[in-house]
């Protein structure tokens, strides 16, 4: 019913042709896309093998791939997508959120887990964890940056995302609440984006 109203509204306002509005999404019934869970499981199992086998290449692969995607995503979402979302109407934010956030709920924790677990092992392999290592300070700096990002992402950003998705599933969502939570998302995504710049500096200092 609410879907029909949403579609009618968008079509009536001339935002989309009626055919396009028929495809206007709501968050999936399960919120988290279930088809993605086997992919996440495969990635995490692969990481356990990488750690158990102590394969330097596999650990490096997980850390570089996971960290690269995590950093790029955070920068792109924080500095490009975030401001765009902030300037959208509630209707447009709702549409974007319904398609984007469920996937992010799977992608981000997976990237963070694969990057951090392999990164810690890698630091141990190359001796950066030793307090006497010349670059130990940079490793500790990376711990601090990740810690700050964790507090922001897990304490503010992720709860807001989840609350928006549940709100949008209601028969009559609270538009003002969605708008407020999405603004919170836009600001905090910007902060984590900037923190990722610090990560880039730290990682390149460690690697050179």
């Amino acid at each position: 019913m609410a879907d029909a109203v949403l579609q009618g509204l968008a079509a009536g306002a001339g935002l989309m042709p009626p055919e396009a509005t028929r495809a206007m999404p709501r968050p999936p019934r399960t919120i988290v896309p279930l088809w993605g869970l086997p992919i996440v499981a495969a990635i995490l199992i692969g990481e356990v093998f990488a750690i158990a086998s102590n394969s330097f290449w596999a650990l490096d692969f997980y850390h570089v791939v996971g960290g690269g995607i995590w950093t790029a995503l955070d920068l792109f979402v924080g500095l490009v997508i975030g401001p765009i979302i902030g300037s959208m109407s509630v209707q447009a934010r709702a549409e974007f959120t319904a398609r984007f956030m469920p996937k992010m709920l799977l992608i981000m924790p997976t990237l963070v887990t694969m990057t951090l677990a392999s990164g810690f092992q890698l630091a141990r392999h190359v001796g950066f964890l030793e307090a006497s290592a010349p670059r130990h300070g940079w490793v500790v700096a990376s711990f601090i940056v990740v810690g700050v990002m964790s507090v922001i992402a897990l304490g503010i950003l992720e709860p807001a995302n989840l609350a928006v998705l549940f709100e949008m599933r209601k028969p009559k969502p609270n538009g003002e609440l969605i708008g407020r939570l999405m603004r919170r998302f836009a600001y905090t995504a910007g902060v984590t984006g900037v923190m990722q710049l610090a990560t880039l500096v730290i990682m390149t200092r460690l690697a050179t």
């Binding site: 509204l9 509630v90 887990t113 490793v139 711990f143 304490g155 709100e167 009559k172 609440l177």
Partner: protein, 147 residues
């Protein structure tokens, strides 16, 4: 909102005042993270355990206090809370398990390992609490103004 959106969206009602569950949970998480960084910065050597132990004890106390305060909130969308808490707890147990596995594989033992495991337990409960509360607080329940 654009014209007509009021037909689709519910008219905003004044937000209900609830205890500072979110603030307490974020503080507990921050304490655990600071304690974790303190230990991680010192292993594989012999880390000084007193400062992270104090931080962990504070975080655990805050988490317990948060759960007690939350349990007294009435009315509250407990069904929704339990659904989100259960699902996210499963996810964060896996994540905490991965981190724990890395620590064991690295040869972390004794007091450091015990403290880190307690930190991971606090982390694995605290974050689902945070997520579930944020979702459930916006659910309309019987007996609440505007329900």
């Amino acid at each position: 909102m654009i014209a007509g959106e009021q037909d689709v969206y519910e008219v905003a009602t004044p937000e209900r005042r609830l205890p500072p569950i979110t603030a307490i949970a974020v503080l507990a998480m921050a304490l655990v993270i600071v304690g974790g960084i303190d230990i991680a910065a010192q292993i594989p050597g012999q880390p000084a355990l007193a400062p992270p132990a104090v931080l962990t004890a504070l975080a655990a106390a805050l988490l317990v206090a948060d759960l007690v305060i939350l349990s007294r909130v009435r009315p509250f969308a407990w069904r929704r809370f339990r659904l989100v808490f259960g699902c996210t707890l499963a996810a964060y147990v896996v994540i905490a398990g991965m981190i724990g596995y890395v620590l064991v594989d690295d040869g972390t033992r004794g007091g450091s390992l015990a403290l880190l495991v307690i930190m991971l337990l606090v982390y694995a409960v605290d974050i689902p609490l945070l997520l579930a509360f944020t979702v459930a607080r916006y659910e309309q329940v019987e007996g609440e103004p505007g329900a």
